[in-house]
Amino acid sequence: MASVSLEGLEKSYGATPVVKGLSLHIASGEFLALLGPSGCGKTTTLRVIAGLEQAHAGRVSIGGQPVEGDGQYVPPERRQLGMVFQSYAVWPHLTVEENVAYPLRLKKVSRADIAPQVAAALAQVRLTGLGARRPDQLSGGQLQRVALARALVGQPKVLLLDEPLSNLDAALRDELRAELGHLRSQLGLTFIYVTHDQSEALGLADRIAVLNEGLLEQLATPHDIYHSPASPFVARFVGGATLLKGRVDEGQLHADGLTLPLPGDCRRVGSTRSEHVTAAIRSEDVVLGEGSTQLTVLARLFQGSTTEYRLRWGEHFLRAHGPWRDDAHPGRPIAIRVRRLTLF
């Protein structure tokens, strides 16, 4: 178990900056999710922590020991990390057991000690009995577990995971997510978990770092990220909020040709000036069939436990979630009320 800290990390590919001065401190034993859209630099950040890429500026230290920065660079094999790759990276020429035993062999663990440690690691990821299989005889979910066992067997200080569930189908993803949560509570290891899926981050992490174009947008607990987004980007990416640009005038929001009365539950972030605001409205905060604002129903999508509505005015759209309504026929007008919003 060890802490990880990044200070002013910068990394470019050619002339394109990918990570732009990222600073983060991950406490020992913490589960941190790096969350952001595809291409925002999550994998690059993880690879710099692993030592697979060298940063152009900034410092990285693991367990208080500097491993990168100020002309210093500790190669990946000496950082004592475990990593689960997005493509699993299970070696095809070795059996499951040989894959998992590899880190121990490099550590010169004696043959007699390797077998029980490998068996324990396989049991931990529920692969007991499959040790003699070749990787081409395993399913995607099983490959993922082999990768996890291999990352854990050397008792790393920190476990790095790069979108570990993104190549799996939905049912398997839910199952493995639950298992990861369970494993995490058993191991007490520092986790850095890269994902573009907000539900994985919200469900698993102690804290979430939301990245956007190589910059840190917000670092907070899942609850705070969801309920108190620090920027319009976080509100939209994590909360699925609709963003409206406009101005506030006498308790009314005028945005994109729409006028809404400001609700009592109105959160202001930063020094918002009234003449230039961005309003973030989450879909579950839109109440249908009440209030004075009339919009047109564009689509009504039944989703079982809830129903999604797309509402339109002019060229603009608003997303809403709520119970099924017979009167919300596509094409019909409907009254809405916004019960909560955030102003930036």
Binding site: P75, P76, E77, S87, H93, P103, K107, G154
Partner: protein, 547 residues
């Protein structure tokens, strides 16, 4: 009925010009063996050239494996310096015929006047030795290992090495434990190709082995010297071809077995990254070693050839002259040889491309029979050129009369004509034409000819409207390659050119072996320049096509 006729029309020449000559040679060789009025016991006669051939082949294969394999790993999988120089240096040497490298090495390292030896004041390295033969053939064969290894490495996910690094392996261990373990079948089959390339080579062992102390005599050299003796030699030559044939067969079958056994299967990744291992502090040293190796093996001999072509006989390196160039290139014998090579090479390229396309089409449309036809047509490519040449000499040393339906008659009189050489070049390189055509056809979009059929075109019209334009660029590239190989070829030519007739390869060979190395250097430099120009042109065309 029409299909059967079409198939037979293709199968007949393949039977007549591939199976029949090889079969005839084999029966002759075996009957000579049993009829035995041999000058020496068979074992004594065969042992020493076979041993020299195996030594040459194994030594060259090991050198090519070591240099080509190491280079492929470091150039493809690490952040080594000079990739822009190293890639072409390890890719291109096989485009230049091996005897040219021998010409270069003779200029560099002959014991008396070699540039390296005079520069150092001692005979640092005598190229007239078994080691010289292995050095020249092994370095010329480096691309035979380098290219298949690179192709195999590109199918390997870089994350596999990175996972090894995270597991505690250093950069070299990570390379050794993952990519090397996965590409060794490709490396091994490349080394087998290098073995055959060297074992079947004639020009290099002859140019360097005859003057060695004691002389090195390989099987191909024995076949050549026997044939110079005339009809009596012909029968002994058939015998020397037997072990050559057996070596090729064993190597080919062995390679297939190894590649099948060693194959590790994995799901082909989608869009693998091209990330490489950082070498860290090893980077400059490794780049220096590989850069030096590439320069010594591939740049130095070419520089030596050019220098030798400009040097006055017995003069100082500082007194350079273009006199040899004017003299050699203006000579009527040179001009005749160059035009014969260009003409015959173009003929061979045309024959290989057209016939190769027909064979590829047959392999697609005639099921198992068609595939068998393609297999037989590709066989001569795996056969040592010397064996093929001898089989053709043997089979066509008499005129053959064909009479159809008691009326139409024609005489096939190949003996003593360049027709036999042209035939040999086409037969030997048919595999290139057929393989390239097959791959091009496999990639072609089938909907274009189908659309033409729907519009009312006949199958042939549909082929020329829809398919041919798609495969033409690839066929053009194959034709250019065949032209380059044939126009500079030596092994077949030296056995098959009629007396009093020259092609480029035999002329350079004669100049170099009969005491006119300066002229040989001029022609060799010219040849290298032409090859380089053609390759640059083809490369530019391909880049333009892709853009």
């Amino acid at each position: 009925m029409k299909r059967v006729f079409l198939f037979l029309a293709l199968a007949a020449p393949i039977g007549a010009f591939i199976l029949a000559p090889i079969g005839y040679w084999l029966t002759q060789a075996l009957s000579t063996l049993s009829g035995a009025r041999l000058p020496l016991p068979l074992g004594d006669m065969l042992f020493s050239p076979l041993w020299a051939t195996v030594q040459t082949g194994v030594g060259s294969a090991l050198l090519a494996l070591f240099v080509g394999g190491t280079a492929a790993i470091f150039v493809e999988r690490t952040d080594i310096f000079f990739k822009g120089f190293l890639r072409p240096a390890f890719t291109l040497p096989t485009a230049i015929p091996p005897y040219i490298w021998a010409v270069g090495w003779v200029a560099l390292a002959n014991p008396k006047t070699g540039y390296l030896n005079t520069l150092l004041g001692v005979t640092w390295f005598n190229v007239y030795s078994p080691g010289g033969i292995i050095g020249v053939l092994g370095s010329a064969a480096v691309p035979l290992v380098y290219l298949p290894t690179v192709a195999a490495l590109r199918r390997i996910d870089p994350a596999w090495e990175e996972a090894a690094r995270l597991s505690g392996a250093g950069p070299l261990a990570a390379l050794l434990h993952v990519p090397v373990r996965l590409v060794w079948p490709a490396m091994a089959s490349g080394a087998a190709s290098a073995f055959l390339y060297a074992a079947a080579s004639f020009g290099v062992p002859y140019l360097l082995g005859v003057a060695a102390q004691p002389p090195t005599v390989t099987l191909t050299m024995r076949v050549y010297t026997e044939l110079l003796l005339g009809p009596t030699g012909l029968m002994t030559a058939t015998l020397f071809c037997l072990p050559l044939f057996a070596l090729a067969a064993v190597t080919t079958l062995g390679t297939q077995w190894v590649t099948q056994k060693g194959q590790v299967r994995w799901a082909a990744g989608k869009g693998l990254g091209r990330r490489v291992q950082p070498l860290g502090s090893l980077r400059p040293a490794l780049a220096g070693v590989l850069g030096l190796a590439a320069s010594v093996f591939f740049v130095l001999p070419l520089m030596a050839i050019v220098l030798a072509s400009l040097q006055r006989v017995g003069g100082q390196v500082s007194q350079l002259t273009f006199a040899h160039w004017a003299e050699v290139l203006g000579n009527h014998r040179t001009i005749a040889a160059l035009s014969q090579s260009a003409l015959l090479g173009a003929g061979a390229a045309l024959g290989v491309t057209v016939f190769g396309l027909l064979i590829a089409l047959a392999a697609e449309s005639f099921g198992a029979c068609g595939r068998a036809l393609k297999l037989v047509a590709s066989w001569p490519y795996a056969l040592p050129g010397t064996v093929l040449a001898l089989a053709l000499v043997l089979a066509f040393s008499r005129d053959i009369r064909f009479i159809f339906a008691n009326r139409v008659a024609f005489v096939l009189a190949l003996n003593g004509s360049v027709g036999l050489l042209l035939l040999a070049w086409v037969v030997k390189h048919l595999a290139l034409g057929a393989q390239n055509a097959s791959e091009a056809l496999a990639q072609a979009d089938r909907s274009l000819p189908e659309a033409a059929r729907v519009c009312g075109a006949t199958p042939w019209q549909a082929f020329f409207q829809g398919t041919f334009p798609q495969v033409a660029p690839r066929l053009g590239a194959a034709a250019t390659l065949t032209f380059l190989i044939c126009a500079t070829e030596l092994t077949l030519a030296v056995l098959l050119v009629p007396s009093g007739y020259d092609v480029l390869g035999t002329l350079i060979f004669e100049m170099q072996s009969y005491g006119d190395p300066a002229s040989a250097a001029v022609l060799s430099s010219a040849l290298v320049l032409v090859v380089a120009a053609v390759l640059t042109f083809v490369g530019a065309l391909r880049r333009k096509e892709r853009a």
